[in-house]
Amino acid sequence: MNAQPIELKKHEVAHHFETAEQEFDAAKIGMWAFIAQEVLFFSALFVAYAVMRFLHPDMFINASSMLSWKMGLFNTTVLITSSFTMVMAVQRVQVNKIAQSINYLIATLGLAGVFMVVKYFEYTSKFSHGIFTTKFFVAEGAFETLPIFFGLYFVATGLHGLHIVIGMGLIIWLILRARKGEFHSEYFTPVEMVGLYWHLVDIVWIFLFPLLYLL
């Protein structure tokens, strides 16, 4: 498909930096600080999970068995694979294999799409059984034992899903810029930063999956 090779564009260092290296390092520190705040953002949900589980241990065991661990495991595999394709996209751009890098980005985007589709089916199957967040919970005979778990489930996976969607937007942005030849071995900061973000989203899921589906 890559009939013409992509013409690489020289990167101009922003006026307030002395060197490209300084520019890259600043972006990297900034990104790590941002990731730290993301971790703290999700951490409150994990604390809420722990407290609610402590208050209602039976509810959590009952409710978690209602989630399909097969779907969860499938999605976990999908996300871990997408982290791998993301790593490859970053690595390829560093050695100026831009077309390959773009293909890996497209693969990552596709896997993210698969994740969201599976999530869609999980959500709708819950809705069809009357399982909503706590206040609107109508599943028969289950009210006493299940609702808060599903309240947390929808909030946690919903916020995680929102991060996936934002990540998909960022990956599309990368693909468009990479096609114009803006990324190459001299300048690949955005690819690397989105990569970091993507791994974070992956790691959050790796914690959510066992806590919600398995335990």
């Binding site: 922003a14 006026h15 307030h16 002395e18 300084q22 390092d25 600043a26 972006a27 520190i29 900034g30 600080a33 941002f34 730290a36 705040q37 993301e38 703290l40 953002f41 999700f42 951490s43 409150a44 949900l45 604390v47 809420a48 407290v51 609610m52 208050l55 209602h56 509810m59 909503f132 967040t133 706590t134 206040k135 609107f136 609702p147 808060i148 309240g151 947390l152 929808f154 909030v155 916020l159």
Partner: protein, 534 residues
């Protein structure tokens, strides 16, 4: 001065668009400054109104509900719209790159974005004013905040959005301090303001997301009924308090740490002396930042938290006094044998020491478990945190504003009026809040609309104090605005400071700040080796 590189950043580009789309940290700082100052006046107006209502024990002007809305608006506006962004985002934006000898912050576009995110969030909060205001208090405690019919969602969404702005500023400052320092400026040649902003940025990045998710959970609780905070659904309302204070106690240090940074700048410049105990002050900023994450439970002594947890939180709370004390002693030691000049900014330094000590010591009193059970939710608490937030942060903000005003705008304000205004603010402040210590200790609960007749004399006395305090701010607003147009042209270094911001020649140029990148060979306050720039 006809060289185009010597046009100041204010004149370099013209028109509204050149401001609204600017990426220059100085202009963004100025936009923040005007926005937060406006918020200060708005929050202050609400304070005047609610104190007016408290003039008598029964209804005077407002209904009980309106009164609840007033103190919520006063608190929420002062905390989220004014104090949190005041020093880091307004003064810090302007001064940080200059003190580092840098051309800008690391991410100028992110910087502008965080300003607009702040404005957007602030508009949400102001919008809540017209859709029923909020009557929960600025702490939004559940379960009432879930049930209240007022527009809790607009206000908390506003605070949530402003939180993002604060996080992005923190991210930006961390990267800037790590990577944008002038050649030769190692970590121990950083001005102490920079250390303070660094510690602040760490808290902004690590604590703010927790209030973000907490407020989001509160909003979702209202819309979807998640149940986590709702006891009728099996949730735990105290969990909200834990989450809230996990952010909001460190947030107190988002407010006070940069204020302490300003103090270090003021005391050295106006004593013309090297700081006493540089590294002790620098490390104590970091120590305060760390301890701040471990003390939130002192807000929950009477919320049913376990006694052992309360004891531990009480001990940890006392620990905050150590690094704070280290700073105060070092500032006072710096004054010893200095050539002190009592300019307006230095008067604010003196006021800060006096008021912050009262605020700090009463904080230790409240941190003590047995006393707090008695004092909890009384005017004693109100007076304590006003001494820290207003006596500490706002006074430092005003000190910094008067210190950097000539650098920011190239104009001098009236010396006489600034001192009169300082005097009114200092006297008015103590008038209002010393009284409230007495009120609280004798049992007056906070947030009450009506009160027992026996408290009226002190309440009325406190209310009259707000008029003195308010007139001080009114005078300040007038002479500062007046100076913008009619003020005397200020020299590049009117106070004889030697940190890098005073080395810029004439009005600070827009794109590169310094004509030549400065080379740093000495400590930031080394008056013996560094020549005072003219």
């Amino acid at each position: 001065m006809s060289d185009s590189s010597h046009v100041g950043y204010l004149e370099a580009e013209k028109g509204l668009k050149s401001w609204l789309f600017t990426l220059d940290h100085k202009r963004i700082g100025v936009m923040y400054l005007f926005t937060v100052f406006f918020s200060l006046l708005l929050g202050g107006l609400f304070a005047l109104l609610l104190r007016l209502e408290l003039l008598t024990p029964t209804t005077l002007i407002f209904s009980a509900k309106q009164y609840n809305q007033l103190f919520t608006l006063h608190g929420a506006i002062m905390v989220f719209l004014f104090i949190i962004p005041s020093i880091p985002a307004a003064l810090g934006n302007f001064i940080l790159p200059l003190q580092l000898g840098a051309k800008d912050v690391a991410f100028p576009r992110l910087n502008l974005a965080s300003y607009y995110i702040y404005v957007f969030g602030a508009l949400f909060s102001v919008f809540s004013l017209f859709t029923g205001a909020v009557d929960t208090g600025w702490t939004f405690y559940t379960p009432y905040s879930v049930e209240s019919s007022t527009s809790v969602i607009a206000m908390t969404l506003g605070a949530f959005i402003m939180g993002f702005s604060s996080i992005l500023t923190g991210v930006n400052f961390i990267a800037t301090i790590h990577k944008m320092r002038a050649p030769g400026m190692g970590w121990f040649r950083l001005p102490l303001m920079v250390w303070a902003l660094y510690a602040t940025a760490i808290i902004q990045v690590l604590a703010t997301p927790v209030i973000g998710i907490t407020l989001l959970l509160l909003i979702l609780e209202r819309i979807l009924g998640v149940g986590i905070f709702d006891p009728t659904l099996g949730g735990d309302p105290v969990l909200f308090q834990h989450f809230f204070w996990f952010y909001s106690h460190p947030a107190v240090y988002i407010m006070i740490l940069p204020a302490m940074g300003i103090m270090s700048e003021l005391v050295t410049t106006f004593c013309k002396k090297n700081i006493f105990g540089y590294s002790a002050i620098a490390y104590s900023s970091i120590a305060i930042a760390i301890i701040s994450f471990l003390v939130w439970g002192h807000h929950l002594y009477v919320s049913g938290q376990s006694e052992y947890a309360s004891m531990i939180f009480s001990i940890l709370t006392f620990l905050v006094g150590i690094p704070s004390g280290i700073k105060v002693f070092n500032w006072i030691a710096t004054m010893y044998k200095g050539s002190i000049s009592l300019e307006t900014p230095f008067l604010y330094f003196l006021a800060f020491i006096f008021l912050f000590c009262i605020g700090g010591f009463t904080g230790i009193v409240l941190g003590a478990l047995s006393l707090d059970v008695h004092m909890h939710d009384t005017y004693f608490v109100v007076a304590h945190f006003h001494y820290v937030m207003m006596g500490g942060t706002v006074i430092a903000f005003l000190g910094g504003l008067h210190y950097w005003w000539p650098k920011m705008f190239g104009k001098m304000y009236s010396n006489k009026w600034s001192k009169i205004s300082w005097f009114l603010i200092f006297v008015g402040f103590n008038w209002v809040f010393l009284t409230q210590f007495v009120l609280g200790a004798s049992g007056m609960p906070r947030r009450y609309y009506n009160y027992l007749d026996q408290f009226q004399p002190l309440h009325a006395f406190s209310t009259v104090g707000t008029w003195v305090l308010g007139s001080g701010f009114l005078i300040m607003t007038i002479y500062l605005l007046h100076s913008l147009k009619y003020g005397k042209v200020a020299s590049a270094n009117p106070w004889g400071g030697i940190t890098l911001e005073w080395h810029t020649k004439g009005p600070t140029p827009i794109h590169h700040n310094f004509v030549d990148t400065p080379q740093v060979n000495y400590g930031p306050y080394d008056y013996e080796n560094v020549e005072i720039p003219s």
